[in-house]
């Protein structure tokens, strides 16, 4: 039965051939995983005071906007009561109310569409162009432009009403709308003629880049009709300091 020894040796060496790379893979993968965890912890540790400051400033902004809204409401109350007592003031007040509505300083309700835009959250992002797998401020600007072109009367992005002072831009991966930190998913509501709005977003000639990225599975983009949408009033700073009306 001496022939069994070489057979057993061959099996042992075959097992070793499989086991050695397996152990090596296991070792390397564990090292990779641990290094990533440590790096993430380290980055989060360094960033903690900065993220805390950003959050505090964002909270402070919410409180300042709330104070501003209260003061605006108080001024409106004073003017409304004065207008009730004077014909001239009443006429002026009507003009002011119309202008406020057109400037986006009062809430608006009506039919329109809701545009949902989000990063690709499933699957592996396109390695060649990972930048295309996240939504950017420029995507939001393109969508808003399409809505205005289709005669939207009011547009709001995640609760931020867009007016003549509005802007949307990216700092790192964070999108800032009206100076307020926002992150995907984006819900963009456009109030206006529903058929025109839905038609513009369905038009293949519009938003080609966004639609191509949706087809590639690297971006989520969906437009739905809605009948009772409300765009809140713009609650940011709006004073005029440099432009003198002629």
């Amino acid at each position: 039965m001496t022939g069994s020894k070489p057979g057993s040796g061959a099996r042992a060496s075959r097992t070793a051939v499989l086991l050695v790379p397996a152990l090596l893979f296991g070792f390397l993968s564990t090292v990779l995983w641990r290094t990533q965890l440590e790096r993430t912890d380290l980055t989060a540790g360094y960033n903690a005071p900065l993220t805390d400051s950003a959050r505090q400033l964002q909270d402070e902004q919410s409180s300042l906007k709330s104070q501003l809204a209260d003061l605006r409401a108080r001024l409106d109350g004073i003017q409304a009561s004065a207008a009730a007592q004077s014909g001239t003031s009443n006429q002026l007040q009507q003009q002011i109310d119309g202008l406020k509505a057109r400037a986006g300083l009062t809430a608006m309700t009506g039919e329109g569409v809701v545009v949902e835009l989000d990063d690709a959250r499933t699957g592996v992002p396109t390695v060649k162009e990972p930048d295309k797998s996240v939504c950017h401020a420029t995507d939001v600007i393109d969508i808003v432009n399409t809505a205005w072109r289709a005669a939207a009367q009011a547009v709001a992005v995640n609760g931020e009403r867009l007016v003549a002072r509005s802007s949307a831009y990216c700092i790192g991966a964070t999108v800032i709308v009206n100076g307020t930190l926002k992150s995907p998913p984006f819900n963009i509501i456009a109030i206006g003629p529903q058929n025109d709005l839905a038609g513009a977003f369905a038009d293949p000639a519009q938003l080609r880049d966004i639609k191509q990225r949706r087809e590639d599975g690297s971006l989520a983009f969906r437009v739905t009709r809605a009948t009772a949408l409300t765009a809140p009033a713009y609650d940011g700073a709006s004073s005029v300091r440099f432009a003198s009306p002629q």
Partner: protein, 212 residues
């Protein structure tokens, strides 16, 4: 034994692929993922915005007080109403305006998306009134590409070359668009044959928005 080893290899390979997949999971967009440099810029941006809000709150408190006193003394709130009317006409772009700012001339190839980005950038820098050639930009203005390399603003075709004028804090506007890596620098890379020239202007005069 061979089958057990093969299973072990498969298991570990699976573990490896899971780990690699985790390393590509870059989709969390929370602030923790930002670089310290981005966070510093975010903080500066939020701080600037909060200062503007504080200034406006201060100004509004004075206006509320003045209006209350005026109404209490029987003079009504005419002064406040006229002030609001005048400011709202600027915000809606319904009145012609005059003031300091900047002018950016664009001579060469350009497009509607770049123009929309430029207007967005100027608004972010606090521009109170903007016009492209003779077309005043309003709260609901839109941009599209036109025939022969022209751009369309609110339905009107602008063939170019274009002059974009913006009224606001002159230095802030100028630095915002001409800084290194700023929007004009990016345009110069995208449109290498186009000439961009930015000037500071003491007294720009912009027309009202055309009726829509």
């Amino acid at each position: 034994m061979g089958a057990v080893a093969a299973s072990l290899v498969a298991l570990l390979l699976g573990l490896l692929s899971v780990t690699q997949f985790r390393s590509q999971d870059v989709y969390s967009r929370s602030l923790q993922q930002e670089t310290p440099s981005s966070l510093a810029t975010l903080i500066a941006s939020l701080s600037d915005r909060n200062n503007s809000l504080r200034d406006e709150i201060f100004d509004l408190r004075l206006r509320v007080q003045a209006a209350e006193e005026s109404v209490a003394s029987g003079r009504g709130s005419l002064t406040e109403s006229q002030r609001q009317l005048s400011q709202l006409r600027v915000l809606t772009a319904e009145s012609p305006v005059r003031g300091p700012g900047i002018a950016l001339s664009i001579d060469g190839a350009f497009d509607d998306r770049a123009l929309a980005d430029l207007v967005n950038e100027l608004r972010n820098a606090g521009a109170e009134a903007i016009a492209v050639d003779g077309a005043r930009i309003g709260p609901r203005s839109w941009f599209a590409s036109g025939p022969g390399g022209s751009v369309v603003v609110d339905g009107g075709v602008l063939p170019g070359p274009w002059v974009v004028r913006a009224i606001g804090a002159q230095e802030v506007l100028y630095v915002a668009i001409t800084r290194t890596g700023g929007i004009v620098g990016q345009f110069a890379l995208i449109y290498p044959r186009t000439r961009f020239a930015t000037t500071k202007e003491l007294a720009l005069e912009l027309p009202p928005r055309a009726a829509r």
